[in-house]
């Protein structure tokens, strides 16, 4: 009778290249987030429904001539679609993103991750990709699909010839909608072990700045008050990209504001993502 060796065995296989090590983090986190049924039912499904509503409008206009006198399918139509997704963007960040780092801090898992052949950058990229992928799925992907739908259903080629740049605007605007809030969410998640606290601060920053903007506007009636609101800045950049800006200089202020905010968040993440939290 053969006697098998049950003691520790060396592993002789080959490891995957290091370049995509971050994907393991993203894959695991997406699995955890998308396993939550309520998250899918209350956030992702409504976001998809919104896409179908806009898609239905395009279909109606092109097939049955609904609203044709209103010239419904304009660059503003695509801007509206993207900007209306901001509500779902915030919900995804609050419910799917705020715990991404704070839960690792709470469970001390970060020290285990970083004791593996994984850099802090791999870890951060993995977390960024988790939120970014979800956000692009509700902005870039449906935005492009709507553009293609209209291009295919439209009887004349004028739209494609004259408005082809919209596809670039959708792409760029989806990045503007996703990147700053992804970094903001993760920076807040990295400063606390409590994901609820991170979520509350995120909501406060996003909604609070809009409320503050409204209050200051009532008092000062000055244009600068609009730049206090996070969403206002994002909206201004969108309007500029889709060529429907109310003021030609808004984006010149909104761009550095969003850029600085993003850089501050990157700096916070750089400072806070460490294997060992040193409490002095």
């Amino acid at each position: 009778m053969p006697i098998h060796d049950l003691s520790y065995r060396h592993w002789e296989g080959k490891l995957k290249s290091h370049s995509f090590r971050w994907w393991a983090i993203t894959y695991e986190n997406l699995k955890v987030v998308l396993r939550r049924k309520l998250f899918i039912i209350l956030i992702l499904v409504p976001a998809v429904i919104q896409f179908f509503v806009f898609g239905g409008l395009i279909y109606g206009v092109n097939t049955y001539g609904f609203f044709s006198n209103l010239s419904l399918i304009t660059p503003e139509f695509f801007f509206r679609f993207c900007f209306q997704q901001t509500f779902f963007i915030l919900l995804i960040c609050v419910f799917g993103g705020s715990g991404l780092i704070s839960n690792d801090l709470k469970s001390n898992a970060l020290q285990l991750y970083l004791s593996k052949p994984l850099t802090r950058l791999d870890y951060a990229v993995g977390k960024i990709a988790t939120i970014f992928i979800m956000l692009e799925c509700i902005t870039l992907v449906p935005g492009i699909l709507l553009f293609l739908e209209h291009s295919v259903l439209s009887q004349d080629t004028t739209f494609i010839r004259e408005q082809y740049w919209i596809i670039g605007s959708i792409f760029l605007y989806s990045l503007i909608l996703s990147i700053p809030i992804t970094f903001l969410t993760l920076a807040l998640s990295s400063i606390t072990k409590n994901n609820r606290f991170a979520a509350i601060i995120l909501i406060t920053i996003v909604f609070g700045t809009t409320v503050l903007n409204g209050m200051l506007w009532v008092i000062f009636r000055a244009r600068w008050t609009h730049f206090i609101s996070y969403w206002n800045n994002i909206e201004m950049l969108g309007r500029e990209l889709f060529g429907i800006s109310k003021s030609s200089t808004d984006w010149q202020w909104a761009t550095p504001i969003i850029l600085i905010l993003t850089l501050v968040c990157v700096w916070i993440m750089y400072r806070k993502i460490k294997g060992i939290e040193i409490v002095t």
Binding site: G13, I25, E28, S107, N108, L114, K116, P117, L118
Partner: protein, 307 residues
Amino acid sequence: MTPIIESTSLCKWYSQVMAVNDISISVGSGVTGLLGPNGAGKSTLLKLMVGLLKPDKGEIKVFGERVWNNNQINQRIGFCPDLDAFYETMTGFQFVISLAMLSGYSKTEADERTMEVLRTVDMLDNKDKKIGAYSKGMKQRVKLAQSLIHDPELLLLDEPLNGMDPIGRHNTIKLVEQLNQRGKTIIVSSHILHEIEAMTDNILLINNGRILAEGNVHEIRELIDKHPHNVYINCDKPRLLASILVQYDDVVSTNLSKEDGGLIVETVKPDELYSRLPGIILENDIKVENLHSPDDNLQAVFKYLVG
């Protein structure tokens, strides 16, 4: 032989607290015990070895390479932390496989390797239970499993026996032995002397962030020969034996144990005492039931050095 771990004037402080203070060590292959009381700097030293902490001064090299900001070296290091580092809602299998994926395994290989290491630490039967429902000992074993997942050459185990039941301890000690036989270098920390003693003779004594002594337990004993060495003799004529031994200059004191009447001899030259004893015993017809030196136990060495 090239040392596996080498540190030069290594320092790490947390604000005003010096956690690791000017440590220069050279650790070769085999099992090395890192021994010291709680707060001595053991965990900090291990975290410096794995690259989780950046040295404030000095440097530390593992396999001849600097560890800080060198994640490639982590492919060769397995780390089992002292604190729990789990998502309690995960199962043991999910936890280990997620770390296997981070180590660079494909899904299929991660799956196989996870089963393999869970079998090694005897956790296969409980792999599908939530970690939150695990006992302390089971959590320790899962932590040990994750440290083995990428088949590292160097294992850093921070208090691995903490919270384990006697069978778990026995199996883990056996596993350490087995891993050593398979060519792994292991650094195991503990504040409990007999735990280390059961795994290795080769120790590093650490206290207040400094290495007090290193080497074999017996070598360390030689280092501290200025301290008296205790020899316990259980015999039928302890008072007679005491009166004879006390005449020699190297014998500092003799005491009778209150518990069992055994004789405790304090000497500064234990080797001379050992060579002299057989003659005295024969000459005086003393029946010796038991003779041992409590000083050979790490506890005594540690007490001497820590003060």
